[in-house]
């Protein structure tokens, strides 16, 4: 199962109540994934990099202090907040890769859960209500967000195996997935031979690694998602986003659900309509995505590009505007 949701506020304001929207959608899909829940949200750009670091499954104040001390060697550590299991801080001007490596060397359970100027990921074991209690996500604002409720089928249930997955090493890119990537082990072996580190045994983690490498080669998100439909095997509906774009991809056999709900002021994606209904009360257009369908929306920027609205770029004859075409 697993619940996946996504919400894009088309107003272009970084102060849109996206946290509350995504939380409401996740609560509607809580029954699809009782094991863990999480939200990735893209908000106002920070001066430097914002990091959320898992201190350990249980939390450890001494270790948290050690992480902050080490981070301070890489740049000036600003606003910080410590939660039970995740600490958040902002660091001005740092080499992202070296910083993450240094932090993760503190202890084996330490993991940088998210990094970016706009991306923030919060996740934990249990229902979305716990997410609200620990992180107050309903007060988080931004332009868009994605969320996940997990029903574990193969790998263990803990914070690291929860979604959304940050694409380690690529600031601001995150993914949520419903389904099963059946060529995961083959893909992972190939990436590991190239030196990529995997943090979990969760097959969904490979999607972020795949997209990060596509984007690093210069592919657009649209191109990366299209390529993934060919290269990933198995059943999948997944959502991926960066500060500039927000999209989905669906497997060629339509084995997993994904509904696209739209209204002039927002886009809501979810694998059950009950979540879209929660995000868009009243009338909206909703349609099941087709075989091998890919959709990408540009994030409007009210401040930077006045008057530009979130357009949908989708390939003709595929996705929502026509029947899916098997490639």
């Amino acid at each position: 199962m697993c619940g996946i949701v996504g919400y894009l506020d088309r107003s272009g304001s970084v102060d849109a109540p996206v946290g509350a929207k995504v939380l409401g959608m996740l609560e509607a899909l809580a029954c699809r994934g009782p094991d863990s829940s999480g939200i990735a949200l893209w908000g106002a750009p920070a001066e430097g990099l914002v990091l959320r670091v898992k201190v350990g499954e249980q939390g450890d104040p001494a270790r948290a202090r050690e992480i902050l001390r080490l981070a301070g060697r890489h740049g000036r550590v600003q606003a910080r907040a410590t939660g039970a299991s995740i600490i958040r801080f902002e660091i001005a001007k740092a080499d992202a890769g070296a910083l993450a490596a240094a932090i993760e060397a503190v202890a084996s359970g330490v993991e940088v859960v998210s990094m970016g100027r706009q991306l923030q990921i919060v996740k934990r074991v249990g229902a979305p209500t716990n997410l609200e209690a620990e992180f107050g996500v309903s007060h988080m604002t931004g332009t868009h967000g994605i969320g996940h409720t997990r029903l574990s089928t193969e790998s263990r249930v803990d914070l690291s195996h929860s979604q959304p997955f940050w694409a380690h090493g690529t600031p601001d890119l995150a993914v949520v997935h419903n389904g099963h990537i059946t060529n995961y082990h083959r893909l992972r072996r190939g990436y590991e031979q190239e030196g990529v580190r995997f943090y979990t045994e969760n097959d969904s983690e490979v999607i972020g690694v795949y997209l990060a490498r596509q984007l690093a080669r210069g592919a657009s998100l649209q191109e990366a998602l299209e390529a993934s439909v060919r290269d990933l095997d198995g059943s999948f509906s997944y959502l991926a986003a960066t500060p500039d774009e927000f999209g989905y991809a669906k497997d060629p056999y339509c084995l997993k659900p994904l509904l696209v709900g739209e209204r002039d002021e927002a886009v809501a994606l979810a694998n059950e309509e009950i979540a879209i209904h929660a995000a868009l009360p009243g009338a909206y257009r909703a349609r099941e995505a087709g075989a091998a369908a890919v959709g990408v929306w540009a994030i409007p920027r009210r401040a930077r590009h006045a008057g530009r609205s979130a357009g949908r770029r989708e390939i003709a004859g595929r996705g929502l505007d026509g029947p899916g075409v098997l490639r």
Partner: protein
């Protein structure tokens, strides 16, 4: 008419209220605020009229026999699956597996249908006002599917019997699906049935039937089998 509001009620309470109304002799039921919840109005075995005023989740109206159900919104996966007789009308779009395994009755979707619409149909008819998705009519055994818009890939794959009419483009025929000539009588009948269910069809339709090559194994047709499996 009995009005049942879903708000503040569990699914079991809603379906229980529908059942109690029917047991009390009610023939007209209006279900309000369905909120896209799953399994609404399932296994209705009486010829009552049920209107659901909004979107529904998965399996709405499934396992029913004789019901006259109207959904004033969209429907999730498996709407009206295993319908034995009666009518299920969806005003909006439907998810995957619409009218799966129905044995009789009519399922009319005024909008678009997702993948595997009418999979393993054993009778009855499925009318789709818009497009249909991947593998519509897969392993269909009897009955008819009418698609007014475009058909997705692998339409009519491995069908045994039955007929699929497509008004728009066909992305790709499925294994052992062949295009046949539709008679003037058939087309006139299609138009009448579509009009009866509030769907405006196109002027022309292509008819797809089973090529029957997969009925029996023939080693000379090994390639067909290879493609099918």
């Amino acid at each position: 008419m009995t009005v049942i509001d879903c708000e503040g009620r569990s699914l079991r309470e809603v379906n229980g209220a529908i059942r109690r109304a029917i047991a009390g002799g009610e023939t007209e039921i209006l279900v309000r605020h369905p909120g896209a919840r799953h399994n609404l109005a399932v296994a209705i075995l009486e010829g009552v009229r049920i209107t659901i005023d909004g979107p529904v989740g998965y399996y709405c109206g499934g396992m029913s026999d004789g019901v006259r159900l109207e959904i004033r919104g969209s429907a999730g996966w498996g709407v009206a699956e295993c319908l034995m007789s009666g009518t299920v009308v969806v005003e909006g779009n439907a998810g995957n597996g619409a009218a799966a395994s129905i044995r009789g009755g009519t399922v009319a979707i005024r909008g678009h249908a997702g993948a595997r619409a009418g999979i393993a149909m054993k009778g009855g008819q499925l009318l789709i006002g818009g497009d249909c998705g991947y593998m519509t009519g897969f392993m269909m055994q009897r009955g008819r599917i009418v698609v007014c818009g475009n058909a997705g890939p692998a339409v009519a794959d491995s069908m045994y019997e039955g007929v699929i009419y497509v008004g728009g483009e066909i992305a790709a025929l499925g294994n052992d699906a062949v295009v046949a000539e539709a008679s003037a009588d058939e087309l006139a009948d299609l138009r009448a049935v579509l009009t009866q269910h509030g769907i405006r069809g196109p002027g022309r339709f292509r008819k797809i039937v089973s090529g029957r090559k997969l009925w029996n194994y023939d080693k000379k047709e090994l390639d067909v089998w290879r493609a099918a499996f």
